[in-house]
Amino acid sequence: MPLVEVRKFATVVEEVFHEGGPPPARPLKQGACLAVIRNPYAGRYVPDILPLMKELEPLGLEMARRLIAALGVAPKEIEAYGKGAIVGGAGELEHGALWHAPGGYGMREALGGTKAIVPSSKKVGGVGARLDVPLAHINAAYVRSHFGAMEVGLPDAPKADEIVYILTMATGPRVHARAGGLQPSEIKGEDGLR
């Protein structure tokens, strides 16, 4: 049996025109791709879980590509990203942590190299659990206008022996961003922070 077995994919894209203020020239698009996979380590403590991390790399890349396609933009138009995991009840939080490397790899690969750390969240939950997946600028983590989050989840996942892995992307800042801080025009882009 392959280590990575996808039961379902889901994508969701929001197109935000305004939030009560003046609509920007271009609506903000933000989206998420979710993959529901069987947890090969469910129901017991497995010391070495790194084989799954390696096997998840193609999934990370496929999900990044699916998400960019669903957003309907060129990779260079993506300005923020994030990732997350919801582990079903027969698994452990550490199984969610396996997503850090392959999820980040998939997005960096699909977006053509990015500098900033990919913000993340994770939890153990049952079917219908919701997760707020953070978003931040792809090249400079301190860009305040791009801090965001997207709430996602599926009514039928994760089952006890499943994991939901998630990627999020956005095409720009919050729709009425005006809380100051480092501006995208000021990014140096050297250390991934500023």
């Binding site: 996808v6 039961r7 379902k8 969701v12 894209v13 929001e14 197109e15 025109f17 939030e19």
Partner: protein, 194 residues
Amino acid sequence: MKAKIRKLIVSVEETRQDMGKAVEPPTRKAAAVAVIENPFAGQYVQDLKPLMDIGEELGELLTRRCVAALDIEGGKAESYGKAAIVGEKGELEHAAAILHPQMGKPVRAVLSKGAALIPSAKKMGGPGTPIDVPLGHKDAAFVRSHFDAVEVRVADAPRAGEILVAIAVTDSGRPLPRVGGLQKHEIKGEDGLR
């Protein structure tokens, strides 16, 4: 009256397997949601025609979004459904005005045929309220394999003065249908029932 849209959300679920059995081809359900201003929030208005016109406009827009997300021709769609959630400053009748009098015609124009009633659901709610959009075969309501629903929710909608309007379209029935009844190859497609 044109709908004042704050945001549009489009989601697709693609099921590859269930209970370890492959679903081939995968079943796919799309849902498109518009969050609009309720022009009659906070007041009783006798004539709801403006909301009926909004229903017609959104019928076309949201159906087109679903078909685009599924990447199919409209005629390849198999089931459909619609729903609305009215924010607390409105009344349930506002949902009825959007959904029932004028929405169906443009939906059927995009999908071609569509003799069957479009199944629907409506309720009052606040931000994050989920709604299960019922699904039925578009040409024959009795096709048992296509009775289903898709849950939609938007974390920040509907606000008190908003209405959330959803249309769902699939190119398939349930993942592993085996409860008998009228089969899709037996559809006559004349009366909308069989």
